[in-house]
């Protein structure tokens, strides 16, 4: 892959919007350096269509991803997996080459 990138895991999580905060606290507790939120996505899955155009955000999804090393990816996916027994959601893990500013090389 591109030379100066750092090999990391990109862990993407689609989740019910009401659970976004718990997901973020899982990510934080795993010691991730950060995360990015896509605040409103919609979708269909095992639990049917989640339209996101209702009066309540109960039927809305959010998406968040975090760039972490393999070990943290495992911790996060295990924790989130427990949550998505009860809540709509899915976890997607891909390999990624991440480029940080120089002064953040130590992540």
């Amino acid at each position: 892959m591109t030379s100066d990138g750092q090999k990391m895991k990109k862990v993407e999580i689609v989740i019910e919007a009401v659970m976004l905060e718990e997901i973020i606290s899982i990510i934080d507790q795993a010691g991730a350096g950060g995360y990015t939120i896509l605040p409103t996505v919609t979708g269909r899955g095992y639990r049917g269509y989640r339209s996101g155009f209702e009066l309540t955000n109960v039927f809305q999804n959010a998406m968040v991803f975090t760039l972490v090393d393999e070990e943290k990816a495992l911790i996060i996916s295990q924790e989130v997996k427990k949550l998505i027994q009860d809540y709509a959601g899915v976890i997607i893990i891909t390999d990624a080459d991440v480029v940080w500013p120089d002064y953040q090389k130590d992540r």
Binding site: E16, V18, M19, T40, G48, S51, G52, F53, E54, L55, T56, N57, V58, F59, K82, L83, Q85, D86, Y87
Partner: protein, 334 residues
């Protein structure tokens, strides 16, 4: 029902509600942007709060006001309990029973608004403290439902003992209470009420071009969105089933009857009794689902949300509003 009562339905906002349902049924792509829906809903609460609060500042807190507010809290606590026991007669998933109970114990601000418009048109006044009753009824039902769900959890844990791999992921009561009381729409209503009390008739006058004059237009848009939402939920009706459908139309009538009895026993004025019936008969589809989804994750939101929004709300708007009026005039003898 005489023609007079059906005039409730020949009102632009109500007609836009039906239009919304229709548009969804014919699969139109009509859509109110979610940002606007959220704004309209905050606007409605501001309007109720300013009106109720300034009315309260004017009238002061009467003995009847206190009685009504206490009755409201009591009913918001008791309705979930008897609802739960009725529901568990037929529902297998007791978490669903607890969650549905919460929505019926709590209230619908838009039903409150529509009834208030209806009864004001008939020239019957009601007190500013009815908005306070609206406020205090939102949360107790949630607390009750969570207690019921806790009961269910303990029971199932006992039954299942070692089987329980699916750990209990419900929130601690403290966090639930925080959510129930700091919910944005809930706070908006409380704040508007307090601001209405603090600024009185002066404040009301300043705000009324915004909160009163253009109110009907904003309501028309909001009810249009409600109609669209009801329309899309109608497809999930088969999931709800006959028993819950029946519950969704019979329960409001029973609840309004209980409220009527209390109102008569305690000697409420007719307008207040009517609004109290409306509060008890309505079910929550905004605040309660938002909290209960966290508090009772085991319950299926397609059930409790659909019942409150797509069954009980339209039932109250179309039949409930004139029916409860018939009931109250029958007893009070207007």
């Amino acid at each position: 029902m005489d023609g007079n009562l059906l005039t409730n339905l020949v009102d632009p906002p109500i007609l836009f509600f039906f239009f919304g349902i229709f548009a969804r049924l014919i699969k139109s792509d009509l859509e109110i942007p979610p940002a606007l829906t959220k704004f309209f809903s905050l606007y409605m609460l501001m309007a109720i709060g300013i009106k109720g609060g300034s009315g309260l500042a004017e009238s002061g807190v009467s003995r009847e006001a206190v009685l009504i507010i206490i009755s409201a809290i009591v009913m918001a606590t008791v309705v979930p309990i008897y609802s739960y026991y009725i529901l568990r007669m037929r529902l297998k998933n007791l978490y669903d029973a607890a969650a549905i109970s919460a929505t019926y114990g709590s209230v619908s601000a838009i039903t409150f608004i529509a009834s208030s418009e209806f009864i004001s048109k008939l020239g019957i006044p009601h007190g500013g403290y009815m908005a306070v009753a609206l406020v205090v009824m939102e949360s107790p039902a949630i607390v009750m439902a969570v207690l019921l769900a806790g009961m269910v959890r303990s029971k199932l844990a006992l039954e299942a003992k070692a089987t329980g791999s699916k750990s209990n992921r419900s929130l601690p009561m403290k966090k639930i209470l925080h959510e129930a009381f700091t919910d944005g729409t809930h706070l908006m209503l409380i704040a508007s009420l307090l601001i209405g009390v603090a600024t009185g008739m002066e404040g009301k006058k300043t705000m009324s071009p915004f909160t009163a004059d253009i109110f009907k237009g904003m309501l028309a848009f909001f009810l249009l969105e409600m109609g669209l939402s009801v329309g899309s939920r109608l497809r999930e009706m088969k999931e709800v089933g006959v028993f819950l459908l029946g519950f969704g139309v019979i329960m409001p009538v029973i609840n309004s009857g209980v409220a009527l009895a209390i109102g008569h026993f305690l000697g409420f004025a007719m307008g207040d009794a009517y609004m109290f019936m409306i509060l008890v008969a309505s079910a929550s589809y905004i605040a309660v689902p938002a909290v209960v989804r966290h508090a009772i994750p085991e319950a299926n939101p397609s059930l409790y949300f659909t019942m409150a929004l797509a069954i009980t709300f339209p039932f109250n708007i179309v039949f409930g509003i004139p029916l409860y009026y018939k009931m109250v005039t029958f007893v009070w003898g207007a």
